[in-house]
Amino acid sequence: MSAAIEMDQVSKWFGDFQALKSVSLKVNKGEKVVICGPSGSGKSTAIRCVNRLEKHEEGSIKVDGIELDDNSVNLVRQEVGMVFQQFNLFPHLTVLDNLTLGPIKARGLSKAEAEEKAMAYLERVHIPEQADKLPKQLSGGQQQRVAIARSLCMEPKILLFDEPTSALDPEMISEVLDVIVALADTGMTMVVVTHEMGFARKVADTMVFMDQGEIVESAAPDTFFGQPRTERCQRFLKQILQH
């Protein structure tokens, strides 16, 4: 069985700055990987490389067995959903239209099929009553749940979360995390970049710590939180868990 995601010695530069230094990461089907690390450590860049929102410059990335390059990018994006820190909902479209656009245009579903599916996923994120509203009429937490539903409508095999709760007011974080936890229980392959360590402990099969463009540590949550090996990781966890 091939892995869901296989990053092998991936490097990436922004100008002179090396954002990723020979990053290797394997995510098995159904596995939940949580990536943490200080800001600027390359965690977002790493997952953005997986659906080629950033192009990696060295090494190879395989998604569901497909080698990721300029030719396969559309194929890969069909398999990979992404949830962004800033939600990135389409502000001129209603919630329902946000959800059905991809399925209709990229998957070729009929409007009725797409709407039925969209309503089902809106139920799943607990906001079916908001279907006809515009994104700006919703709270941040609701918007992020719509964004999650939007990715789910494409029926991806893998979901990437790029700091999904970092732009939210504190009281809205849990409603979004609850949805993600429920999703994790369905067996979806997920890679989550987050600072929410309580959540990480709950869902992660594997914890990954990144610093300065490298994967410094990678372990099961118990080991990761219990006995972090490296000094850098210990320091980071101490800082982040104090709050």
């Binding site: 929102l53 994006r77 069909q78 959903g81 962004f84 800033q86 389409f90 001129h92 656009l101 990229a106």
Partner: protein, 251 residues
């Protein structure tokens, strides 16, 4: 209703300015209560049709071309990007009047078989010059849409065409609507230049009447009013369209 009042007041004020002042005016030449004055006025107003038609047709042709010129500017391909820059820089440097003369009097030497009517020479010149400006407006509009919109559209695997058609352009269009309205006003005024090759629009009619009636002041004053009315109507139309498209995102 309030806006209507403002507009009416503007027009009345302009009329008073033109009529009120002292000697030397001979409004009889366009006095609609006399027979000759009415005929003259009707003659002057008959230019409206071509002024409007020239501007609308030119704008409608220039909009899609402007967009097609703007889009390659976002490509990573050096040649496509280069095409956008070179087109904009070259065409923007071409004065409308020069374009009109060159197309109407110059081009037939190269293609003797093509006999362009003045209307179409005017449309080609106006729309050509307009494409460069519209391309820049489109570029600004597309650039103003946050990158996250493109990324979100990519992540649901929309094609380039679908991304533009359903995500980026609808948002960009709302933002550039005021600028396009502006260009339409500009176009209405520039269409006056087509009079030099004999197009019977507003200016041409005024010129013709002025040389037969020897009343340049009154006739050109009417011309000023004609453009004022036309442009006030257009700007009202653009505002209505903006409201309809809910373009003001700050609300």
């Amino acid at each position: 209703m309030k806006k209507m009042t403002t507009r009416l007041m503007l027009i009345v004020a302009a009329c008073l300015l033109l009529t009120g002042c002292g000697q030397g005016w001979g409004w009889y030449v366009v006095d609609p209560t006399t027979k000759s004055g009415f005929i003259n006025l009707k003659f002057l107003m008959s230019g409206f049709w071509y002024t409007i038609l020239l501007s609308i047709v030119s704008l409608l042709i220039a909009i899609p071309i402007g967009l097609l010129v703007a889009l390659p500017g976002f490509s990573n391909n050096v040649w496509l990007k280069g095409f956008n820059r070179v087109y904009v820089e070259l065409v923007r440097a071409l004065p409308v009047l020069v374009a009109i003369l060159w197309i109407h009097y110059g081009l037939p030497t190269l293609f003797p078989s093509i006999d362009l009517p003045v209307f179409w020479s005017g449309v080609i010149a106006l729309s050509l010059c307009e494409t460069a400006f519209l391309a820049e407006i489109f570029r600004a509009g597309i650039q103003s849409i946050p990158k996250g919109q493109t990324e979100a559209a990519q992540s649901i695997s929309l094609s380039y065409y679908d991304r533009m058609r359903y995500v980026i352009l609808p948002q960009a269009l709302r933002r550039i609507l005021p600028a396009i309205g502006n260009q339409f006003v500009y176009m209405l005024k520039m269409s006056s230049l087509v009079s030099v090759i004999g197009m019977g629009e507003l200016v041409r009619k005024a010129n013709e009447l002025a040389v037969t009636e020897y009343r340049a002041l009154e006739i050109y004053s009417v011309l000023v009013l004609e453009y004022l009315v036309l442009i006030l109507v257009v700007s009202a139309g653009v505002r209505w369209l903006e409201k309809r498209m809910d373009a003001d995102e700050s609300k």
